[in-house]
């Protein structure tokens, strides 16, 4: 067997030390009638070579970014991953260790957590960060729970339609059996409407969740949303795109009390949606309500600086049902990757990456809109994504024919927004070249010629 050692001789020696006749006897505590009594119905074992061939065959039935040009976004993006991130992320002293319960034997991981927390606070402009949560959506739901407990307001939380639909769905699931209602407010022109928000937010409101840039890629008037939110005494939860902070204001700078994000873009692959990295930062006053692991610096018995898991009285293993959250396993390896990634980029690299996303996406939008079939669904400025309206209302055909020519051209929005059934979301990262963007534009415009012919017959 591949990964265990016991030879027949070992087994004999071990069994006699135990005082058992056979391995079967060791399972005697399981009542006989509960035993399976047959072999599991699973495919037979594969050698490493066969496994490799089989997995390659499965993988070959997929079309990854790289084989098709990826303009898909909506919370998962095809950003570049520098080699250093893979090198450090594949150090098995990191990836084969557990949560650092024994601090003395885990200073590497603990210092990485501390550095990660520090970088996230620099990034967000907030005081503290935890050591990671599962993903952006569950981090948003945890932030909402935190806001409810911090404000003592159990009435409602407000989520604009411009918040990622899957984030809204996750928040709704988390709150389903609690007293708090999730109130979804419509947007105007792709962004929060201050009047509608002012109407909705009241003294029962625990928080407003603002995505900046929002699901449609539009830049919201965050300062205004914050003003309205704070006037009612509610907390502002910002859902941010880490990459955008190379050019946009940080959540802490526009008044967010809690900031959460999907952090896979900081050095981890799209991997069909996970594992990802849930980022969470908050103001100092909220730290004891924070979910998840937190590392802190202290001194050891010899007076040396060292790191340790801290404020554990918030956590499930100490507080059980009174814990701030049930989270135990987090996304440590992805926090490590994000730490390496941010160190590799540095301030200038982050600025330049953000700027490339901005310039290239705006170029792509402009080029597409030169064609009469396409227009921007919203006029608000965008960062790296934008919504294109297809005047012929044939989004599925259009995207299908683009795919045939090697482009993952965009995401149809009808599934989440029936009123946007004629629209699709396009994301352009720093990886996309001008040639690829021009290729996308010419493909979509050609596709449009091809599909529009039979439509007029």
């Amino acid at each position: 067997m591949p990964y265990h050692y016991n030879t027949p001789e070992d087994k004999q020696a071990m069994l006699s030390a135990i005082g058992a006749e056979s391995v079967d006897v060791l399972f005697d505590s399981i009542p006989a009638e509960l035993k399976l009594g047959r072999r599991l119905d699973l495919p037979p074992a594969l050698s490493e070579l066969e496994l490799d061939q089989h997995l390659r065959e499965l993988a070959s039935r997929n079309t990854p970014a790289g084989e098709a040009v990826c303009f898909l976004g909506a919370g998962s993006y095809d950003h570049f991953i520098p080699a250093v991130v893979d090198t450090i992320g594949s150090r098995s002293e990191f990836y084969t260790s557990y949560t650092p319960y024994q601090a003395e034997a885990s200073q590497g991981n603990l210092q990485v957590m501390f550095e990660y927390q520090s970088l996230i606070t620099e990034l967000t402009g907030l005081d503290v960060s935890n050591a990671s949560l599962y993903d952006g959506a569950s981090a948003a739901a945890e932030a909402v729970l935190m806001a409810i407990s911090a404000t003592g307001r159990h009435g409602k939380v407000i989520v604009p339609e411009s918040l990622h639909p899957e984030y809204r769905a996750t928040i709704a699931t988390y709150l389903e059996n609690l007293a708090t209602e999730v109130v979804t407010i419509p947007t105007s022109g792709g962004v929060v409407d201050p009047e509608i928000l002012s109407e909705a937010v009241d003294e029962e409101t625990a928080a407003v969740v603002l995505q900046q840039p929002n699901f449609f890629g539009c830049v919201e008037d965050a300062a205004e949303v914050n003003r309205i939110t704070k006037k009612a005494g509610a907390l502002l939860i910002a859902v941010f795109d880490p990459m955008s902070l190379g050019v946009l204001k940080r959540p802490g700078d526009y008044g967010a009390n809690i900031a959460v994000a999907e952090g896979h873009t900081l050095g981890s692959p799209m991997a069909y949606g996970g594992p990802y990295l849930g980022i969470m930062a908050c103001e100092k006053s909220l730290v004891r309500r924070m979910p998840g692991r937190i590392a802190g610096q202290t001194v050891d018995r010899r007076g040396n600086t060292c790191f340790v898991l801290t404020m554990q009285t918030r956590e499930q293993h100490i507080r059980r049902e009174k814990a701030t959250s049930n989270v135990c396993t987090n996304q440590g390896l992805f926090a490590l990757r994000a730490t390496v990634y941010l160190a590799q980029l540095g301030p200038q690299g982050l600025r330049e990456t953000a700027s490339l996303c901005l310039q290239k996406s705006r170029y792509a939008a402009e080029q597409l809109c030169q064609h009469e079939r396409f227009s921007l669904a919203f006029e608000e400025p965008t960062f790296k994504e934008f919504v294109i309206r297809d005047r012929e209302n044939r989004v599925d055909d259009l995207l299908k024919s683009a795919l045939d020519r090697g482009y993952l051209a965009g995401l149809p929005l009808g599934r989440w927004y029936p009123e946007l059934a004629d629209c699709f979301l396009v994301a352009v990262t720093e990886k996309r070249t001008k040639a690829e963007i021009d290729g996308l534009v010419s493909t979509l415009t050609k596709a449009s010629e091809r599909v529009s012919v039979p439509a007029t017959v």
Binding site: Y98, P275, Q331, F334
Partner: protein, 488 residues
């Protein structure tokens, strides 16, 4: 050998003007940022990240890595965590561009291989648990607990039943009561006896029509198979409640017995334990759940379906609880688990459990002469020893022993869990350790108990740092570089 110059904090290594990444020149006509974005929204300068070079980064993190113990470097018998070998072929599999570079919203026709793998995983998890429906969405064990409890809540709501309680044995993992509370339930503790089993009288006194779910860990956190399992399930079912199985300990029973066959209605898996997903210094994991037929309509969506030879995502479950996260699930972890299951096949998986249980019993047979194991002579995949006598006699605690083990090159067992055993030391050797390693561990443990108490109180002596001042860390939290300069 560690070089401590380069394990200074990144902020200390930083010098203005240094940089690692160079980005391509912008190849589209560039415009002034002020023309593209409203000035109120833009930052005048980027966040103050450290400025370091690539060689510095590599030296920094590689040196930090040497300050960890890990499965690849040390025996790591951390009970309940199943620190088994993490196969390298799994890592290679997950990194294949055909899996790693897939966007979660790609059209189904471009991800047929991915969906085939995920469909198979649903089937495998169902077969191993004996439960007929599966959701791969949850991101970790605790997330699976929460998801399943929300599924149960939706089911009861649909039946029009108002049930507010979840029963949790006192030796359960902390995530169980925490998940119950998050799902909107009241968590009620059920006692266990000194043998480590559910106290049937206490259960009877707490089981009523308001109980929605009883969560049970079987084999338990003491590494024992619950002898009253069937009875417990029958009693809970008789009052209309459901049984949730905390599947953290599946490594003991693969192919031997199945939760669905003893009355479990729902369970999670920890593929990062049982199916060799590496723990990553804290994560990621995954928390797929399996449930009985009548709970299937409430599972999160999407679910992978197979129609003829095509795979498709089914979002159309009218009674679904919705989502518990974005996108499909922790797919990278599931790819590793798939590689692990395919490598073993049905006989191999059974052998995993047989060897895990053999190793644990062997270690138990050696350790019980050194430290008493209150709950008996036999165990499943792990056992809980107690340093209580040593503490009374010599003042040596479980923590002292744990710390001293580090000096001898062994990671410590889980200590002070479960809470029902005083001075608990929970040992889980897993199947991927040799007899020699187990012998060496037992010998070292014996040697430690003979050592001078003072020496142990001050242990570890050979690690990069000695015991941290945890009280200071909690009372005067220093959680970031910025706080560091404030503190000085």
């Amino acid at each position: 050998m560690r070089n401590s110059r380069d394990t200074q904090l990144l902020c200390e290594l930083s010098r203005p003007g240094r940089r690692a990444a160079r980005l391509p020149a912008c190849d589209v006509p560039e415009r002034d940022i002020a023309d593209l974005l409203p000035t109120e929204a833009t930052a005048s300068s980027p966040p103050a990240l450290p400025e370091v070079t690539e060689p510095q980064i590599v030296r920094h993190f590689v040196n930090l890595s040497t300050m960890n113990m890990s499965v690849d470097t040390h025996f790591y018998p951390l009970g309940s965590c199943t620190m088994k070998y993490n196969p390298k072929r799994n890592e290679r599999a997950a990194a294949m561009p055909g899996f790693a570079d897939l966007h979660p919203c790609q059209p189904e026709e471009t991800i047929q291989g991915m969906l085939a793998l995920l469909y198979e995983m649903q089937e495998y998890f169902q077969e191993i648990s004996g439960l007929p429906a599966c959701s791969l969405q949850p991101a970790a064990g605790a997330h699976g607990e929460l998801t399943a409890l929300l599924v149960a809540a939706a089911y009861f709501k649909d039946l029009g039943e108002n049930r507010s309680k979840v029963l949790v044995p006192d030796n359960a993992h902390g995530t169980n009561p925490a998940s119950a509370a998050m799902a909107g339930y009241r968590s009620i503790t059920v006692k266990t006896t000194s043998d480590g089993f559910v106290d049937m009288a206490d259960l009877a006194s707490k089981l009523d029509d308001e109980v929605a779910v009883m969560m049970i860990t079987n084999p338990s956190t003491l590494g024992l198979f619950e002898p009253h399992m069937r009875e417990i399930a029958d009693q809970v079912h008789a009052r209309g409640g459901l049984i949730y199985l905390d599947g953290a300990n599946m490594n003991a029973i693969l192919g031997i017995t199945r939760p669905g066959d003893w009355g479990a209605d729902m369970q999670h898996y920890n593929p990062h334990k049982t199916f060799s997903g590496p723990h990553g210094g804290g994560g990621p994991g995954a928390g797929p759940i399996c449930v009985i037929e009548k709970l299937a309509p409430y599972l999160p969506t999407p679910i992978v379906r197979k129609e003829d030879s095509l795979y498709a995502l089914d979002f159309n479950l009218p009674k679904t609880i919705g989502r518990v996260r974005s996108f499909f699930g922790n797919v990278g972890v599931l790819v590793r688990a798939y590689a692990y299951i395919r490598t073993h096949g049905p006989d191999g998986l059974r052998e995993v459990s047989e060897n895990a249980v053999l190793n644990a019993n062997y270690l138990l047979s050696r350790v019980k002469h050194i430290l008493p194991v209150p709950q008996g002579n036999r165990c499943m995949h792990e056992f809980v020893a107690s340093a209580n006598t040593l503490k009374k006699d010599k003042g040596i605690t479980a923590m002292d022993i744990a710390k001293r083990l580090l000096d001898y090159g062994f990671h410590a067992p889980t200590v002070y869990f479960p809470l029902t055993v005083p001075e608990a030391m929970m040992c889980e050797p897993t199947e991927s350790e040799s007899k020699e390693t187990l012998d060496a561990f037992a010998e070292v443990l014996f040697r430690i108990t003979e050592e001078d108490a003072e020496l142990l109180h001050d242990a570890p002596h050979s690690t990069a740092v000695s015991r941290p001042d945890e009280v200071r860390a909690a009372r005067q939290p220093v959680l970031t570089w910025a706080a560091l300069s404030e503190a000085n």
